[in-house]
């Protein structure tokens, strides 16, 4: 029974396929999996948007949407219909072809990343050796779509937003990759399935997740910072800073194309949360051995939605960074720490079992964090804000 609940989607797919002739079974099976991905994640996107608007409302002492349906739960549906029926405006001087291609390219690329994520036991669409490399390669090409959108609009705000976005994404892609490399080093494989399998073991009922090691925790925190910046989320949302750039690279987009950008952003966030879950939080494995009866896909989607809540929480809490702070943070603080973390991970591997490696690795990381933080803060003059008025 437990086994059936765990494998319900796999069994369902096989049952549906079994009605077809043999030569058609494999392609239809793949098609079904793709359709499942394309249906599930936009649904999660709708839930996340509602959660975000409600949650942000709560944090800012207001109600949030509460008019459409009970407690406003049909708000995403209303938004979807609204953006479908709105006029699609293309500026006269815009480059029409590129302007049209940018959102389409973004959505296609963003969905491709899901192909390698293990969403449950036996629930990986393509189980390839170099899955992680595939994910990062696909993630890198979203930058091009952002640039296409900003450039083709022929609007200075759009172009500035796109330049900011691309510069930020390139800068934070390096820490993102480097923090994941630590996991690859310890697992000895680039396959997400293998990475989850290694973490899916228990000692005294507790899991072997990478986040429960000093280097894993450090890599996870750095990964979170880089992932937030990579998805252009607050506090790293300079590319769409409303007070400076209207809406950044999608200023000139309206109607359904705007909705596609919105979808792309959130589906990208869900994908990177899924990757973080796979790398550090044990993917589909249960947090305690006694909870193993809960279906594995519940754990994966639960962990992903938890990360989305953290994203929303951060957005409601932190103020936006300045451009120079953003770049200094990436190159002078996050990148050196990720490089050091690689060395610490190697040390962890070669010190063997025992309590000593816990002490040494934690001490090195804490020391580096403190010293670099202090050095970075020394040049800054932190004082009460002074105001200057026009005379």
């Amino acid at each position: 029974m437990i086994e059936k609940a765990d494998q319900i989607f796999v069994i369902l797919s096989h049952w549906l396929v079994s009605f077809l002739p043999v030569w058609l079974q494999q392609p239809v099976h793949v098609l079904l999996s793709v359709v499942a991905i394309i249906v599930t994640f936009p649904a999660l996107f709708a839930i996340t948007v509602l959660l975000e608007r409600k949650g942000l409302g709560r944090m800012q002492n207001r109600y949030g949407p509460n008019r459409v349906g009970p407690y406003g739960i049909f708000q995403p549906v209303a938004d979807g219909i609204k953006s479908l029926t709105k006029e699609d405006i293309v500026p006269t001087s815009a480059d029409a072809v590129v302007h049209f291609l940018a959102p389409v390219f973004l959505v296609v690329v963003v969905f491709m990343g899901y192909a390698v994520l293990p969403m449950g036991r036996n629930m990986t669409l393509v189980n390839m050796d170099a899955g992680l490399l595939f994910f990062f390669a696909i993630g890198a090409s979203t930058e091009l779509s952002v640039f296409m959108a900003g450039w083709s609009s022929r609007n200075k705000y759009s172009l500035l937003g796109a330049m900011r976005a691309v510069a930020q994404m390139i800068s934070y892609e390096i820490p993102l990759l480097m923090s994941s490399v630590a996991v690859v080093m310890m697992t000895g494989s680039l396959s997400p399935n293998k990475i989850v399998d290694v973490q899916n073991q228990y000692t005294w009922g507790l899991p072997h997740w990478y986040i429960f090691t000093p280097w894993g925790l450090a890599a996870f925190l750095l990964f979170c910072v880089a992932a937030t910046a990579e998805t252009n989320r607050s506090p790293f949302d300079l590319p769409e800073g409303e007070s400076e750039l209207v809406a950044g690279y999608f200023t000139e987009y309206s109607g359904f194309k705007f909705a596609l950008f919105f979808l792309g952003e959130y589906v990208g966030m869900l994908a990177i949360s899924g990757l973080g879950t796979t790398l550090f939080l044990g993917g589909y494995s249960a947090p305690l051995q006694i909870l193993n009866w809960v279906p594995s896909w519940c754990w994966f989607f639960g962990k992903v939605m938890m990360s989305m809540c953290v994203f929303i929480w951060l957005r409601g809490t932190l103020p936006r960074l300045r451009q120079d702070q953003l770049m200094n943070f990436a190159w002078k603080f996050v990148l050196p720490l990720t490089l050091l973390n690689l060395v610490v991970a190697a040390l962890w591997r070669f010190m063997g079992d025992g309590w000593l490696r816990w002490v040494v690795c934690s001490a090195i990381l804490l020391l580096a964090y403190t010293v670099m933080g202090r050095l970075g803060m020394r040049q800054k003059h932190i004082a009460p804000r002074s105001y200057r008025y026009a005379e």
């Binding site: 490399l133 390669a137 696909i138």
Partner: protein, 166 residues
Amino acid sequence: MSIVFYVLAGLTVAGALAAVALKNTVHCALALTVAFAGLALLFLELDAQFAGFAQILIYIGAVAILVVFAILLTRGSETPKDTVYSNKWLLGLVTAAAVFAVLGWAVLHSTEALPHETAKPAVTVMDIGNALMGRYVLPLEIVALLLTAALIGAVIVAMHEKEGAR
């Protein structure tokens, strides 16, 4: 030679031709990206996963963006009024044809140089990693050192210019 090969080859060649023939420089850069993507897919079709993904990661994720930045930050982004063809196009054509002929000749004769390679080589990402970290670790380190030096040099050049401007 399957039908997939012909589709991908057509895509790559069309992208490359468009990159040369289009007027707007940014369009050329985007067409070049299509050619890069076609090449990456060709690598994947040949079961070379690492080469294919590295091609996407480096050429589409970094080189294309670099090209586009270079176009926008210089004055090349304006569309020229008259023709884009240089008046030395014949010389260029001859050079390109010569290079293509040499490469083609080398590829066609590669079977004679290695007559005993009948089995299809199976190269996984793991094998490439082992080779890079084992047998070829010295060249790898030399390349890494060279790239670091280039990076630092670029930063120093940029910093120097900024001080001079002040």
